[in-house]
Symmetry: C2
Subunit: 341 residues, 2 copies
């Protein structure tokens, strides 16, 4: 597997395991002729699933056995200690051992975070990993981090998130100088908590293109490329968005199926509505990057379907091509030496 | 003004001042025959605006002069100290002096919060006011608090917010036992920060119908009546929702105006789309309650139009009828005595 971008998939992870990962692998291999995938998990089950889909093991689609599965309920500590032969752990090990260039998992976030951190180690100068995802905006998209890897982040951690997010945006969006904002609230009285204020001071004196405080709505307005916040806040913003999108989509459907006339209108509008649905389809944004590690790890949504999981694989591929960890490492090293690259 | 529910309006507050408040007052007086309004602000300007709208001063529409205006940039401390004759302050004073039963303002949130707290005082047993608003859900609506009155709330504060929100829901929704949830993140590793965990313990031992942790998407799914969080998190959730709704609405419009065929489809679907738009119209949810005070104060969105501001007036009216502060007071007193009412 020399000439391909090699991606290890935790084939047993997530709410749906193989049912989603196998068809997603198929899609990904079709989409990208330059990748090879390693399906990690129970080899018997994987081979049966491949057969059921008329898929063959090839140089580009290999199977690697793992006898255990990390469940959604396992604590990170337990997963780390007692599940050393889990599909998640073995997939991460492949990255560590340079048999894969990236890992993708839809499994338990806490366990993935802890295991990836333990096995791959942090980049020098980065204290904690951060979860970063892309959210659609009026004019493209916005990278938001952290989304739940940390709660109660210090100012220094928020600053590191900003550096990593900026570097990711440079790599992915090919922007020379991504606009970085710090998530805050606009109430005049109580603008920000102590960590946010201290992070603001750090960012104002940084080489980043820091545009200052932004508010929740800025995630979607397209005037900023990277938004930094602590994991608690970021996770709430992400989940709130998921809930609202679900409600709006349901109410829109309800409006078009209320009576005969509205159903007719819906039928006529079907191509338009499908186009709209596609544009805001959360599956197109599935795949969150675990940044700050010495290796590439992408978290897929636990409930992702195969289209969504395939998107997470695409993100891993892009990060391999763009050498995201190496870039972050280089930038941090330069900053520690007091210069920018 | 004896037999009406009397509501004082900060006529100069918000982004649009009289331009919005006067037509909103007109709408509200038409909608509710049982209310009387007091327009507080520059009397010359108010009278000119009334004349321009062919509106007369009556027993149900009075004018009260105030020579100053709190701007959106004024700090709460400055507003409190140097703007004792502002429209905001005088309107709040009317509640304090029992010349009005509630106050509505679209002005500077921090100043409104600080002034209302200073003038009206807290209810006994409540440490801090909270801002609570209703957000639409798949099956009705959800009360969410706090939305920015506080950052870094202690467990005890979160507990008090839960009590107030529950009592508000009992009063407004006429539910016997509203379901109360505590906003948290679902990552297994790091479930909650310290305050949230401690508040969870308090709530589990409370007489409230506490259903445990909820996540951001639960705001919109309709399985919980009251969601409690600290003001930083709540404000981010609210603003994020505003941004997403704006983006979705813009993209939907874009889809229907892309080309001739989609425009035709949009024309045919117009009644359906209008119905949908109305259902998720944020103006129908405008008006946040300042809870925990010895009096009723409602905050309108700074950028609210007259329809939205009229909705905030309706909320004030409902809280007067339902005697929300008295109910919260009674509930807290009963809890302090170790019993529930």
């Amino acid at each position: 597997m020399g000439t391909w971008y090699r991606i290890a998939l935790d084939a047993m992870g997530g709410d749906h395991g193989l049912t989603v990962v196998i068809p997603a692998a198929k899609k990904a291999l079709e989409n990208h002729v330059d990748i090879a995938l390693i399906l990690v998990g129970d080899e018997q089950q994987i081979r049966a699933a491949l057969q059921a889909q008329n898929m063959a093991e090839t140089e580009r689609l290999q199977v690697k056995h793992a006898s255990q599965v990390v469940t959604m309920e396992d604590s990170p500590a337990l997963a780390l200690k007692n599940k050393k032969d889990s599909s998640m752990r073995i997939a991460i090990n492949l990255v560590k051992d340079n048999q894969a260039d990236a890992v993708v998992s839809a499994g338990n976030t806490g366990a993935l975070m802890a295991t990836a951190r333990f096995v791959l180690k942090m980049l020098p100068g980065i204290d904690r990993p951060a979860i970063c995802t892309v959210m659609p905006s009026l004019q493209g998209h916005t990278h938001v981090l952290d989304l739940g890897a940390n709660v109660d982040s210090s100012a220094e951690h928020l600053y590191q998130f900003a550096l990593m997010g900026s570097e990711l945006s440079k790599a992915i969006d090919e922007l020379a100088s991504p606009r970085v904002g710090l998530l805050n609230i606009g109430q005049e009285a109580i603008k920000g908590n102590e960590q946010v204020k201290a992070a603001n001071a750090l960012l104002e004196n940084s080489p980043l293109n820091y545009i200052g405080y932004v508010e929740g709505d800025d995630i979607y307005l397209g005037e900023v490329d990277v938004i930094v916040c602590d994991g608690f806040v970021g996770n709430i913003a992400l989940k709130t968005s998921e809930g609202l999108a679900k409600m709006i989509s349901s109410k829109l459907k309800g409006s078009f199926t209320r009576n005969f006339l509205s159903k007719m209108a819906g039928l006529i509008s079907l191509p338009v509505l499908n186009n709209f649905r596609q544009e805001i389809d959360p599956r197109r944004y599935n795949g969150a990057s675990l940044l700050g590690l010495q290796g590439i790890a992408v978290k897929s949504h636990g409930g992702a379907d195969s289209l969504a999981f395939a998107n997470a694989i695409s993100i891993a591929r892009t990060e391999i091509i763009k050498q995201v960890p190496q870039r972050i490492n280089k930038q941090i090293a330069a900053l520690l030496e007091g210069q920018t690259v």
